[in-house]
């Protein structure tokens, strides 16, 4: 049973990936600002009180699209008319282009505050 489920997941993900349009980083940045993603997730994708950290996201394009269409948390749902699949792919590409955030241990001030 477990094997069957795993196969189904892989197939679904593969299908979604095949359907996901390639992303354009430049347009993704434009859409990230236009669509107000920054309002909860921050200009640097750092996240905050109202939104998860998106920089260095582990989500695939398909997962991102699925979540944005039917979020499980409190995020507003974006329908295709408001944000197309292509635009979401572009946003995903932009998120993946963001530099990997530093860890706290690599920032002397945070290191010091944490260790005090």
């Amino acid at each position: 049973m477990k094997t069957l489920c795993a196969i189904a997941i892989v197939l679904t993900a593969a299908t979604a990936l095949a359907q996901a349009p390639a992303g354009n980083v430049e347009n993704g940045k434009k859409q990230y600002l236009r669509a107000g993603c920054w309002e909860c997730h921050g200009y640097a994708g750092q996240g905050g009180r109202d939104g998860a950290r998106l920089a260095d996201t582990a989500l695939s394009t398909a997962q991102l699209t699925r979540y944005v269409r039917k979020p499980t948390g409190g995020m507003p749902a974006y329908i295709d008319k408001v944000m197309t699949d292509q635009e979401l792919s572009d946003i995903w590409a932009y998120l993946k282009s963001m530099p990997t955030p530093k860890a706290a241990k690599d920032i002397p001030l945070l290191n010091e505050l944490k260790g005090q």
Partner: protein
């Protein structure tokens, strides 16, 4: 020069004379007619007198011949209010309490209480709100019974919802004969306190000095009986300004004030609560406004340690040290809900919205509304709150009715010693073993979340606009070796100070608005800083831009009265919460969000808060956009604050 007459003139006597004088005035030639008579030949050295001067100098004397008194009624009122031991009066001046103001500054020598000049009545009351949260002492505020109270009312509602005592005296001329102009008619009101009666605990409009004395003392007692709430006393203009009647001078006295002891829970109910908590495998404590005094913190720590129970702090007060392993470091509502959902006993201590803490509702991004309990089937729900002892019906700050297993109507802090004692008595070796095991798991989870928070703070570290995490870290780095007090809320900055700093003293955190009435934060910070001043503490305020725009004159109050306060702006150039709500609404309607900046953005032009502060006479720096410039600017500001002055660093920040 008018003659001084020491004999008291009773109010009735005064009115009798006034009527007689008015009748006599009808018999003399009108002043206007005199002004029209030809003037005598003027001497060359002196300019000719104007028609107005001639009229004033030749008009008949005023109907009453008593010009002064050595003992206006306001002096006695000052004696009464001084007996209540207020440190300060916060007020924007108003003619309806001019008699009292004069008596306070001259007869009362402007000490205990000292007059603090405020630029808006909303600031006066919000300053009192902040002052109380640090010092635990209420402030005397004064305002017009009409236009002043209209300004003050939102701040009063915040204090009411936050269970904070504020003593508000309203000037009002009740006697129609004493209203000398349209101003005094428009500033008079039949029942001044009616406007705020829904969110104050008690009020009165005394009609004599004796009545004023008794009601003033009673108001203080009512205010300081949990749940603490604001009260209002109306000071009639005639009582303030007319001489104190002779009989009153001989007989009036100020009643003795006795504050009731806070109500503790019924012993049987407390024992029952202890049984439920000790028997639970996963008890959770939800702390609302429980630490009414500094002693509330060690009591809550003792209860949590006795039970090895995690403490969810609603951040209304400094209730629990945030580095204690039993402090639940989760901040987001969803994370907190998970903690409550895993509990088999939940104890709410002074939590006004316990229903919200134990239920989930359809989020704003979906249509319709359903709700469900998030607690496990059979989980025991217990509350201890003085909120059960006092209810109003119009304003809905009381929250939804919660179905409980045990409700103890009492002050939580006063009940904690008995509850701790009962829990300790009931703890068997087996329950202790279970509790210790639970405590180890909670400590590990505390550390995990703390480590995660520091990593989250690192994201966007070098970004501009500056992240609120970096702002909080840079600020803490500068003040952490001082005796600091954080005099603002963390709701709009992703709670970063509570996630990155170490809080363990009652004065280190004052919580939020009470009713989320924006315009509270800046004045509350100034009031709190004034309370901290005598203790030599460094008061620190992370100030939201939208909030400061309501009544920025409070910056002048801080500069004028030399109130040391380090303000660091969270200048995200917008009313961001409302911007997100608009985004929610646009998404619900299936429309694009391109227009959701309309009515909520504070840009074009950008507001320069450093220049604003300078205009009010305050040291300032910024606007700072490069995160590398932030630390040095805050350090420079701290030096100013250490010299006893306020300072402001304007920082352009990310939204949250």
């Amino acid at each position: 020069m008018a003659k001084s007459k020491k004999d008291a003139v009773g109010r009735r006597g005064f009115l009798k004379r006034a009527a007689a004088g008015a009748a006599a005035a009808l018999a003399v030639k009108p002043a206007a007619a005199l002004a029209q008579q030809p003037a005598e030949a003027a001497r060359p050295a002196a300019p000719p007198a104007s028609a107005r001067t001639v009229a004033l100098e030749t008009a008949p004397p005023p109907p009453a011949d008593v010009y002064t008194t050595d003992r206006p009624g306001a002096d006695f009122m000052v004696d009464v209010l001084k007996s209540l031991n207020f440190d300060y009066i916060f007020a924007n001046p108003g003619s309806s309490f001019r008699g009292l103001q004069e008596s306070f500054i001259n007869y009362g020598k402007n000490t205990k209480p000292e007059w603090i000049t405020c630029c808006h009545e909303e600031s006066s009351v919000a300053m009192a709100h902040g002052y109380y949260k640090i010092e635990g002492k209420p402030i005397l505020c004064m305002a017009h019974g009409t236009v002043g109270l209209q300004h003050a009312s939102m701040a009063l509602y915040n204090a009411y919802a936050d269970r904070v005592p504020v003593y508000l005296v309203l000037g009002n001329e009740q006697e129609i004969a004493f209203r000398r102009s349209d101003v005094e008619w428009t500033h008079a009101v039949q029942d001044a306190a009616s406007m705020v009666r829904d969110y104050t605990k008690w009020d009165d409009s005394p009609i004599s000095l004796g009545h004023f004395a008794e009601s003033s003392v009673k108001a203080y007692k009512v205010m300081m009986t949990p749940p603490y709430e604001p009260v209002v006393i109306c000071a009639n203009g005639g009582l303030q300004e007319e001489p104190m009647p002779e009989e009153d001078r001989r007989t009036l006295r100020i009643p003795k004030l006795v504050i009731p002891s806070p109500p503790a829970g019924d012993p049987n109910a407390v024992l029952e609560a202890a049984k439920l908590l000790v028997a639970a495998d996963n008890p959770v404590i939800v702390a609302g406004r429980v630490a009414r005094t500094p002693n509330g913190i060690p009591l809550l720590v003792e209860l949590a340690e006795t039970l090895s129970a995690t403490v969810i702090d609603r951040k209304f007060r400094m209730n629990f040290p945030n580095r204690h392993p039993l402090f639940n470091p989760a901040c987001a509502p969803a994370d907190l809900s998970r903690v409550v959902a895993a509990a088999d006993a939940v104890l709410g201590l002074e939590v006004p919205d316990f229903w919200n803490a134990t239920h989930a509702q359809t989020p704003i991004n979906r249509m319709g509304m359903t709700s469900r309990p998030i607690t496990k089937q059979g989980a025991k729900l217990i509350t201890i709150t003085a909120g059960d002892l006092f209810s109003r019906s119009n304003y809905q700050d009381f929250g939804r009715y919660a179905e409980l297993d045990l409700a103890i109507a009492a002050d939580a802090e006063a009940t904690l010693p008995a509850l701790i004692e009962a829990c300790k008595r009931l703890m068997t070796p087996e329950r202790k073993r279970v509790a210790e095991e639970r405590g180890r798991k909670l400590a590990a989870e505390h550390k995990r979340v703390r480590d995660r928070d520091f990593d989250l703070a690192a994201a966007g570290w070098d970004a501009s606009p500056i992240t609120t995490a970096r702002l909080s870290a840079e600020l803490y780095n500068v003040i952490r070796k001082e005796d600091w007090s954080f005099v603002s809320d963390t709701t709009f900055i992703s709670w970063w100070p509570l996630r990155l700093w170490d809080f363990d003293k009652h004065y280190q955190f004052i919580g939020g608005h009470g009713a989320y009435g924006v315009g509270y934060q800046a004045p509350a910070a100034v009031g709190a800083a004034l309370a901290n001043k005598k203790h030599g503490r460094i008061s620190v305020n992370i100030q939201c831009d939208g909030d400061l725009n309501y009544a920025p004159g409070v910056l002048w109050t801080a500069a004028h009265h030399k109130i040391p306060l380090l303000n660091v702006m969270h200048n995200n150039r917008g009313y961001h919460q409302e911007r997100m709500f608009l985004q929610d609404m646009a998404s619900r309607a299936g429309r694009g969000i391109e227009n959701t900046h309309i009515g909520v953005a504070l840009d074009n032009p950008n507001i320069n808060f450093a220049m604003l502060a300078k205009a009010y006479g305050m040291w300032s720096a910024g606007p700072i956009e490069n995160p590398k410039d932030l630390g040095p600017a805050i350090k420079a500001a701290l030096e100013v604050v250490k010299k006893g002055e306020p300072a402001l660093v304007d920082v352009v920040t990310q939204a949250r």
